[in-house]
Amino acid sequence: MQYEIIIAGFGGQGVLSAGRLLAYAGMIEGKNVSWLPSYGPEMRGGTANCHVIISDDEVGSPIINHADIAICMNLPSFEKFEKLVKDDGFILADSSMIEPLKLASSHKKHHDINATERAFELGNKAYANIFILGKLLAVTKMLTPESIEQALYKVLPPKKHNLIPIEMKALKTGMEN
């Protein structure tokens, strides 16, 4: 089993930490994992992305040329990464941030989910990233929510551990959507 996943969006949408969470959870489940952020002056442009690989085998290059899954949290990311998705891969798109028309015109398989809106309903649009991760787990069954929870304890500093229940709620809501 090997998943090559690109997660992309605006700075502030938490795409890097979503990727990190995924990688950590993968490691917890005994997989080989890698996580690579976009770095450098690109950050100025206001967009960010990361490449996450979760694999039973050794991970080759951490840089993804062709993704199994692209999680696109905004329009520029959708436009940029759509073409990198393998023919048998798919896109997870935050339809709160991307015009339906654009999504509709895509040749690639895509799951649309209004993550930002739903996260807003859950109390904070910052949970959009974890909400969409829930969807990812639901679609692929690649990792269990329990691993994500364990990863949250590793990734978040102790003083933020009180937020984990809310994060998990967002994850599960995402899984059910």
């Binding site: 002056p41 950050m43 100025r44 442009g45 206001g46």
Partner: protein, 247 residues
Amino acid sequence: MPERLVPKSLTDRVWHYCPGCSHGIVHRLIAEVIDELEIQGTVIGVAPVGCAYNNYEYFNFDIIQAAHGRAPAVATGVKRVLPDRMVFTYQGDGDLAAIGTAEIIHAAARGENFTTVFINNAIYGMTSGQMAPTTLPNQVTMTSPNGRDTSSQGFPIRMSEMLALQDGTAFVERVSTHDVRHIIQAKRAIKKAFKVQQAGLGFSIVEVLSTCPTNWGLSPLKAQKWLEENMIPYYALGNIKGKDIKV
């Protein structure tokens, strides 16, 4: 009231700077000054390594991208061989006050007849927020995580005062970008610096106190306020040398 269009000396490309970053404000000022002095065709700018590394994409006149800190040396090379052109360097505080210390001081001491616009935002912007020589005492940065501790990390350098000491320096002024009134003053200083160069009087520099909202971790508005309340007390605004020059 006159029209306020995009200056001729700017291209129409969208800038990569973060929201509220002073770089954009100063770019516009420089372009306006060049338009007003009608020198677009004779200007050669020297871009630094720093967030403004690619300002040749934004300025609509000749520009040379220089190695980190070496803009004054590059400008010296240009101005020496083309003394009738207008030459300026655009440099950040890491560029000018750290790695490029020797180059700027010696350009000043030699009285090189070019102008420097010095963007002092008290931090390394481009490399994501390390301590600069101009970082204030106790200011938190990525490399002063508990605030700059002057006992182990030293004291901020006041570059303008040091450069004003050089006999080759004709004009030095420190300005700010934290509100419109100060931005207007900043433009006046930049214009005067260019005129000092036109008159062949020697080295001229304008230090522009600037914000880096991103790496200060503040909103653009809070950043302007932080600048006003923290930087200005340390870096006194106003003319430091050449006040009486009439150009």
